[in-house]
């Protein structure tokens, strides 16, 4: 039977190596879909390391937010960049091997984690949540809203700056774009578009222009 703490140490180094390897793959692979898949693996392995350190909430948040939402969005964007439908269908088969490798590595990592927990290995260092007698999430919340309140608020402010900057950079009138101006459409005055002319029902007799009769003579 393997020593639980030794197994945990092996897992830590293995997860670390996979994280670094996958991160190198992200910046060195030429195929964008492969790069995104490697990034998924990087995030997942990082989450596994956090799980080893008993930071469960952070690990789950990383997977839910980054792997679950952000990376799927990335994948969609990368795949949609090539609008050729036939190529996309080919792509699914072409990307299958790399996807499978990533999935298998993730599965092995999960099994290893379950193994570590099942063997009841000692924790890596002091876990402040256990010391405080709280659950991981409750401790994190308390720390964020008391000791780290100011950085937390400043981070929120940075997000506001990001929104302002994004709007300032993207909201502009480009010459030649055919977009609707709702305000102008609503504010339009009917008189500017249609001119109603009052006309009699019966045509008044038109006087014969004198020039017409003179014309043949000329």
């Amino acid at each position: 039977m393997i020593d639980p703490n030794f197994f945990q140490l092996i897992c830590f180094y293995a997860f670390g190596a996979i994280t670094v390897g996958a991160a190198i793959a992200v910046i060195s692979l030429r195929n964008t879909v492969h790069a995104v898949l490697s990034l998924v693996l990087t995030f997942f392995s990082t989450a596994c390391i956090w799980m080893l350190a008993e930071a469960e909430f952070l690990a789950v948040a990383l997977i839910v937010v980054y792997v679950g939402a952000v990376m799927v969005l990335f994948l969609f964007v990368v795949m949609m960049l090539d609008i050729d439908q036939v190529k996309i269908r080919e792509g699914f088969v072409r990307f299958l091997p790399v996807g499978l490798v990533v999935a298998v590595v993730m599965l092995v990592e999960m099994l290893a984690l379950i193994g570590v927990r099942a063997m009841h290995a000692q924790t890596l260092g002091v876990n402040p949540a256990t010391v405080a007698g709280q659950s991981n999430t409750a401790w994190l919340g308390t720390a964020l809203y008391t000791h780290y309140l100011l950085p937390f608020e400043v981070a929120a402010l940075i997000l506001t700056v990001g929104v302002v900057a994004a709007v300032a950079l993207t909201l502009r009138q480009r010459s030649g774009s055919k977009r609707q101006m709702a305000a102008e459409q609503v504010a339009v005055d009917p008189r500017a578009r249609v001119r109603l002319v009052k006309m009699d029902a019966v045509r008044p007799p038109v006087a014969e222009p004198p020039a017409a009769s003179e014309e043949p003579k000329a």
Binding site: L150, G162, V164, A168, L169, R172
Partner: protein
């Protein structure tokens, strides 16, 4: 738990955040032709912030939010001058922005957000706060550089700035995490304590090196200076003025906070590194500036050289050295606002003052502003009766006191080389024949004329009467 006292300590910062949000709302609701109101409101907001900073200035160090925020006299001085320089930037840029139909509210709000970032950073008591404040400053700066969407040069500059900035911010964060791993704390005061008790590991020095990269990038010191010339040239001149003045004061604040408040015990390691960075900056900055024909690029290389001089003061690693570096940072910020202010005043609709040759014969058309530019150039060069001379003298003295005589000698040689390109600008203004439709200060904006003149004359006045400002800097760092 935070109490009302914590909030009172942060009053200027909270006030500015609220005011920036209100200005943002105001911009959404006023008519485009009433934007002038926004301009004056922004200036009033900043002036009130200066008042709040000075009025609430503590005699001793006050901390808030569990040591996250430190309000001490030295950070107050940096804040006052950062706010003052932003007011100058706002006043100098208005005619330029109106002429180019780029008079938008985001210009004002993004700059105020950047200033809030600086204020939080220089008062940070924790590595997390330093990083967040710096991110807020740089994020706003990237957007400001990119704000001129129709110019490919601006977009290129913004991309370069963003990519290099993101890389260095990653390096800074990496260094911080290494130091955290070695010391086991993010708090600057506890870090200082831990190092004083002799826990200097190799890991901590490793982290220190990465943090120095972040500091050198923010300062724009060689060999991390690559972004400076492109960003200065590519950004619209108002944004360049902002980066040249406010960002440099902020970078000094960052260096001082990290190296003095946090890592003072490691000064044996960082002093020689900073000395090398200093000498490289002075060399590269002054030598490359000699061959520039674009005035913004020339001033960019001049910035790199000046940051080398500023680092000389920090290399001293004593309160006296920091005081001289702070004095230098303030001096440089005020000199660069004058230089860029004249460039902004000369630019008019359809005419961008970009090349040094655009200044030809400025003296014949606008002798007063040619005089202001001359004062600024002589001051940047460090010619005796002006502000720049005394600041240079102080940092050279600080370097000699720290035992870096070779550094001071290099500084003097480089200052003499630098004289050439500053004098070249003056020669072009005074002795070259003006071209048709060339150099003149056309801006009829009276606030620009008055404030630019005051700023220029301040360089002259502070060059003769530097005592009170230097005394303020020295007192703030605990010297008599």
């Amino acid at each position: 738990m935070p109490t009302i006292n914590d909030i009172l300590v942060l009053l200027p910062e909270f006030y500015l955040v609220a005011a920036a949000c209100l200005l943002l709302l105001m911009d959404a609701f006023i008519k485009p032709e009433q934007r002038g109101t926004l301009h004056w409101c922004s200036i009033v907001v900043l002036l009130v912030a200066i008042y709040l900073v000075i009025a609430g200035q503590p005699d001793v160090t006050v901390t808030a939010f569990g040591n996250m925020f430190i309000r001490d006299p030295a950070s107050e001085i940096i804040k006052v001058f950062v706010l003052l320089c932003t007011v100058l930037v706002f006043i100098f840029s208005r005619p330029y922005l109106i002429d180019r139909k780029r008079f938008v509210g985001e210009f004002y709000t993004l700059m105020i957000f950047a200033v809030i970032g600086v204020m939080l950073m220089v008062s940070a008591g924790n590595l997390v706060m330093i990083y967040l404040g710096l991110e807020m400053l740089t994020l706003s700066s990237y957007a400001l550089v990119a704000l001129n969407r129709d110019s490919p040069l601006s977009s290129e500059a913004a991309i370069k700035y963003f990519v290099l900035g993101a890389l260095t911010s990653g390096m800074l964060l990496y260094g911080m995490s290494m130091v955290y791993g070695a010391a086991g704390t993010l708090d600057l005061a506890q870090l200082h304590e831990a190092i004083a008790q002799g826990t200097v590991s190799r890991l901590m020095v490793f982290g220190l090196i990465f943090m120095l990269v972040g500091i050198a990038f923010e300062l724009g010191a060689a060999p991390f200076h690559m972004w400076i010339p492109d960003v200065y040239q590519g950004a619209s001149t108002p944004v360049t003025t902002f980066i040249a003045s406010v960002s440099k004061l902020a970078a000094f604040g960052l260096a001082w906070r990290l190296l003095d408040t946090g890592l003072a015990g490691l000064s044996n390691y960082w002093q020689p590194m900073l000395a090398v960075i200093s000498v490289l900056s002075m060399g590269i900055g002054n030598l490359v500036a000699l061959v520039q024909t674009n005035i913004k690029r020339m001033l960019a290389y001049s910035t790199i050289a000046h940051m080398g001089f500023l680092l000389m003061g920090i290399t001293n690693a004593t309160p006296g050295g920091y005081a001289s570096a702070m004095f230098y940072a303030i001096c440089y910020a005020l000199m660069s606002t004058v230089a860029f202010g004249v460039v902004l005043a000369m630019a008019r609709a359809g005419f961008e003052c970009e090349e040094i040759s655009d200044l030809k014969g400025l003296n014949e058309r606008s002798p007063w502003f040619a005089g202001m530019m001359a004062i600024s150039m002589f001051s940047l060069a460090g010619v005796p009766p002006l502000f720049g001379f005394y600041a240079k003298y102080l940092v050279l003295q600080a370097a000699i006191n720290a035992g870096y005589l070779w550094l001071a000698i290099c500084g003097i040689v480089m200052a003499i080389i630098g004289l050439w390109y500053y004098l070249h600008v003056i020669k072009v203004m005074y002795f070259d024949q003006p071209e048709e439709g060339g150099a003149t200060v056309s801006a009829s904006d009276s606030s620009l004329r008055v404030v630019l003149s005051l700023n220029g004359l301040a360089l002259l006045a502070l060059g003769v009467y530097w005592g009170p400002l230097l005394g303020w800097c020295r007192r703030s760092l605990g010297l008599s």
